[in-house]
């Protein structure tokens, strides 16, 4: 499963104000638990402040990979990108669990050009040509971002849940399509295939627009990379974790920033 790295187009969508937390990128499936023998899901994909309101930028779909219950890759259908959101459909032709992932690997840089602070985002291979030779204070960061959601037709299975071993990833202990209000789910975070201890995970429920409190919770991974979430109410939830380390594979980059975000549906009891 190798996503195409068309960072330049994704960069347009993710070239956001300075703070990494200013906006949230998300996938929103029309359903996550499906029955019947001809199931489809339609998915919204956007970058926004409010979950899951499309009000800022569409998420580009160039790096979208849909993994089928047997581990093969299936093509999303009817992709379209509008002013505020992208949409695509997935035909769940076989029973089991599908993983929908947008995975990107890009570079951001900050530097001073004639005394003026500049920022740049793009592909690693364009660094040399697009940043002036005389740039001072050049700081380059590699950004690996993984954005996921899961849907299941019929009986859930685990094949599509297998991690790639690259970057920050979620390993479900509780199946992501078996989440119910008032119950506790457990997940593990890995960095490059090994447990990521002491990472903070933000957990937010959609629909903030219609309430006065954001209701954001946080969890922290233990030494085995494990964290638990008790879902107070049913709804669509978005979780995100971030880590930085010095393991950049882009030679100009000292730092590597890893982001994992996922959308989970929590059903009523």
């Amino acid at each position: 499963m190798k996503p195409l790295l068309k960072w330049s187009t994704l960069a347009l969508a993710l070239a956001l104000p300075v703070s990494a937390h200013a906006h949230r990128a998300w996938l929103l499936p029309s359903a996550t638990v499906l029955s019947g023998n001809d199931a489809w899901v339609s998915v919204d994909a956007a970058v926004s402040n409010g979950l899951f309101n499309f009000e800022h930028q569409p998420l580009r779909l160039d790096n979208l990979v849909v993994t089928a219950p047997d581990g093969s890759t299936v093509n999303p259908q009817n992709p379209s990108t509008g002013k505020y959101r992208s949409t695509f459909d997935v035909h769940l032709a076989n029973p089991g669990t599908y993983k929908l992932a947008v995975v990107s690997d890009g570079v951001s840089a900050s530097y001073k050009d004639k005394g003026e602070r500049k920022r740049w985002r793009g592909k690693a291979e364009n660094l040399a040509s697009e940043i002036p030779a005389g740039a001072e204070d050049l700081k380059v960061t590699q950004n690996l971002r993984r954005l996921e959601t899961f849907v299941t037709a019929g009986k859930p299975n685990d094949v599509a849940l297998k991690p790639s071993g690259q970057g920050l990833e979620l390993i479900p202990v509780t199946h992501p399509n078996d989440l119910f209000a008032k119950s506790t789910a457990t997940f593990i975070l890995h960095i490059d295939g090994t447990p990521a201890a002491d990472l903070k995970v933000a957990i937010a429920r959609g629909g903030e627009r219609y309430r006065t409190k954001p209701e954001e919770q946080t969890a922290t991974t233990d030494k085995d990379g494990k964290f638990a979430v008790t879902w107070a109410e049913p709804g669509m939830y978005w979780i995100e974790a971030e880590a930085t380390d010095g393991k950049a594979t882009v030679k100009e980059a000292k730092e590597r920033r890893l982001t994992y975000a996922a959308t989970f549906e929590v059903l009523p009891e």
Binding site: A31, S35, G36, N37, A39, K155
Partner: protein
């Protein structure tokens, strides 16, 4: 109004019952709503660990050429989670068409295939109803199996279900 569950038609109820029958009654209430569709209903027996000991009835839209009624089975969320997603419908003697407003009686002879392997112990009868453009409700009645001849256990729904009971009938 008494309606015999599909079991009657499949012959599982034929002949005199060897012992007492298990009788389950499920009331589908009349609702004053703008758009009414008959609810999907599932009736099953759960063990204390929530595993399913027996599926007694599942009523859904079966009179549909393209089997489109199966698309909404997942709306019986608890049943779908505990049993439905592991099964293939239709299930002979269990699945049937949606039912109208009224009290529906299901009777199972003690030698019925669904019950004969039910080990003595603690169970819950679970009834879940989900209605198109409507709500969803789950009722649970804890019981000890085998049931005492004289007991009739009852629960009362608040929205999508009316009175639900489980009893032994001679």
């Amino acid at each position: 109004m008494r309606i015999w569950v599909t079991l009657g038609a499949t012959g599982l109820l034929a002949g005199p019952a060897l012992g007492a029958d298990l009788q389950v009654q499920v009331e589908i209430p009349k609702l004053d709503v703008a758009e009414y569709h008959r609810p999907y209903v599932a009736v099953w027996i759960e063990r204390p660990d929530h595993s399913v000991a027996a599926n007694l009835a599942v009523w859904y839209e079966i009179n549909n050429n393209k089997n489109e009624g199966e698309k909404w089975l997942a709306d019986l969320r608890q049943w779908w989670r505990r049993a439905g997603r592991d099964l293939t419908v239709p299930i002979d003697g269990v699945t049937g068409a949606t039912r109208p407003v009224g009290t529906h009686t299901l009777e199972f002879a003690s030698d019925n295939a669904l019950l004969k392997d039910l080990a003595p112990g603690q169970y819950e009868l679970v009834v879940e109803a989900a209605r198109e453009v409507g709500g969803r409700e789950v009722l649970r009645i804890p019981f000890q199996w085998p049931l005492d001849q004289s007991t009739k256990l009852e629960a009362k729904g608040e929205s999508e279900l009316g009175a639900v009971s489980v009893a032994i009938k001679d």
